[in-house]
């Protein structure tokens, strides 16, 4: 009994460290193929990145807008009545603006991208892995990290901050719309939001979104390259990929929050 549990524990620990090591290795490899290799050899980045930017960014604007708008609305619903009790309902605009730009804008955008893009990366590249397409690239002397992962990283690095800034604006608009039900003037609401916001709120949110983009890309691609055992393995790794991305997003978010708090 104890022996079996100990064996399970060591197996889980070994798998954890193997995955962590694999992700760090993939991250370093991807950094090389993204930022160094294009200056040294021929790559397909330019041709591959734009369609990916469209898939990641343009096609996510709708769902990001919907989620961000509702988050803005919910924040006002949840906090407005308390502030109203103290005659401070006007403060809700600042609360929404700061919460959206510092925390919920980047985080909710990243969560949408995990579901829409991270899962698609793992499923798509995992299918390529089990159908020997990744091996075919290798046999053509085309590095799979350079051909498959680097363009994805560039695309998601560009599009995530754009989506995050868009989510911030839409979230504030959602709060403004809900503020009407508390009798708040929309012009005054926008003015208050802008006066509350500081540049560092925006910068910290965008910086977080960049790290979130790296987490989504590296975890999803790593789990795809580890797929084995046919469709069952693909389904298992896609699920594991999404769960790992979500957990890591929260961990990175917490570390960043502590770091920003410490330096400001």
């Amino acid at each position: 009994m104890f022996g079996e549990r100990f064996e399970d524990l060591t197996r889980s620990l070994r798998s954890f460290f193997e995955n962590a090591g694999g992700m760090v290795h993939l991250l370093l490899d991807t950094m090389f193929w993204t930022f160094v290799a294009p200056f040294r050899r021929k790559t397909e980045h330019r041709r591959l990145t734009f369609p990916l930017m469209e898939a990641i960014g343009n096609k996510s604007f709708g769902i990001v807008a919907l989620v961000a708008f509702l988050i803005g609305v919910i924040l006002v619903i949840q906090t407005g009545y308390i502030l109203e009790r103290y005659g401070q309902v006007r403060q809700v605009s600042g609360l929404v603006a700061v919460t959206m730009t510092r925390e919920l804008g980047p985080l909710m955008t990243a969560i949408v991208l995990v579901a829409r893009v991270g899962a698609a990366f793992t499923a798509g590249l995992g299918t390529m892995q089990i159908s020997d397409e990744v091996l075919a690239l290798r046999t053509m002397s085309i590095n799979p990290v350079g051909y498959l992962v680097a363009p994805r990283l560039i695309a998601i690095l560009i599009m995530t901050p754009c989506l995050t800034i868009f989510a911030n604006v839409v979230g504030i608009a959602g709060g403004c719309a809900m503020g009407l039900t508390f009798g708040l003037d929309p012009y005054a609401y926008i003015d208050d939001s802008i006066s509350f916001l500081q540049l560092q709120d925006l910068i910290s949110g965008v910086a977080k979104s960049v790290l979130f983009a790296v987490v989504i890309c590296i975890v999803s691609c790593h789990m795809a390259f580890k797929v084995e055992g046919g469709p069952e393995g693909l389904a298992r790794n896609t699920m594991l990929s999404v769960v790992t991305q979500l957990v890591l997003l929260i961990v990175v978010d917490g570390v960043m929050a502590a770091f920003i708090q410490a330096v400001t």
Binding site: S131, E133, L135, T139, M140, S141, I142
Partner: protein, 263 residues
């Protein structure tokens, strides 16, 4: 020494021995067929020969380079000397047939786009697929996918082509077309073919040399005529496709009665 020199390759997966001291030489400009039943070690041998898997011991010298000890940079160079036709084609699903064939050319040369286009048309014409240039792999039949994959494999004019089960899943006519193409690669283009298959008929149509792998070891080796005259019961059973003989399909490990009683 031939173009490919396989020496004493050994590979195990846990306690299972997949390859046990396999050695042979592939001569330039010939078609070398590796025959064997499922689980006989053929695919593992192919993966070791193309550098996709590491052998436990032994070496594969391909045109002077030992694949088993080469690092990634050396492998990238040696891999340009061969093309691989995978079992299901392994064409990139997001690219058209033409783009798939153009990919290695674009990646490894600085040729103008117009020249690449002409080369793609020529390669597709060689496999009789010029009309499918703008189609996606998902719009092709199994045989067409394999021919498109062959066009991609010869895109950079390699010395050798490896074929993994080229006739699997194909109807007799498509199988004959693929066999004809494999012969054309040798006779018209002077390429060396290494074919992994369990299809006896197509193997004998294309082979100069045949190796029969059984449980990770070479059971027989020689020309088609030599294999046909071989009196070894195992070789006879494989050639005739008989259900009874030394090639036992049923698992005989463990005691049947014990298995039942331990339920």
């Amino acid at each position: 020494m031939g173009l490919i020199d396989v020496r004493e390759i050994r590979k195990t997966f846990g306690t299972k021995v997949a390859l046990d001291g396999v050695s042979f030489v592939v001569e330039q400009g010939k078609t070398f067929v590796i025959l064997g039943s499922s689980g006989g070690g053929k695919s593992t041998l192919l993966r070791i020969m193309i550098g996709a898997e590491k052998a436990d011991s032994g070496s594969v010298i391909l045109d002077g380079t030992d694949i088993t000890t080469a690092d990634e940079a050396e492998l990238a160079i040696v891999r340009r000397k061969f093309g691989v036709l995978f079992q299901e084609g392994a064409l990139l699903g997001s690219l058209t047939v033409g783009e798939n064939v153009a990919l290695p050319i674009r990646y490894h040369t600085n040729l103008p786009a117009r020249t690449v286009e002409i080369m793609v048309k020529m390669k597709l014409e060689l496999v009789g697929l010029r009309e499918a240039e703008r189609k996606l792999p998902s719009q092709l039949s199994g045989g067409m996918r394999k021919r498109a994959a062959l066009a991609r494999a010869i895109a950079l004019d390699p010395l050798i082509i490896f074929y993994d089960e080229p006739s699997s899943g194909l109807d007799p006519v498509a199988t004959a077309v693929i066999s004809q193409l494999i012969n054309d690669m040798k006779t018209k283009m002077g390429l060396t073919n290494v074919v992994i298959t369990h299809d006896i008929q197509s193997a004998f149509e294309i082979a100069d040399t045949v190796v029969l792998l059984h449980r990770g070891k070479i059971a027989a080796q020689g020309s088609v005529a030599e294999i046909l005259q071989n009196e070894d019961p195992l070789v006879r059973q494989f050639i005739t496709g008989s259900a009874t003989g030394p090639l036992e399909m049923r698992s005989t490990e463990g005691d049947y009665y014990n298995d039942l009683l331990n339920l």
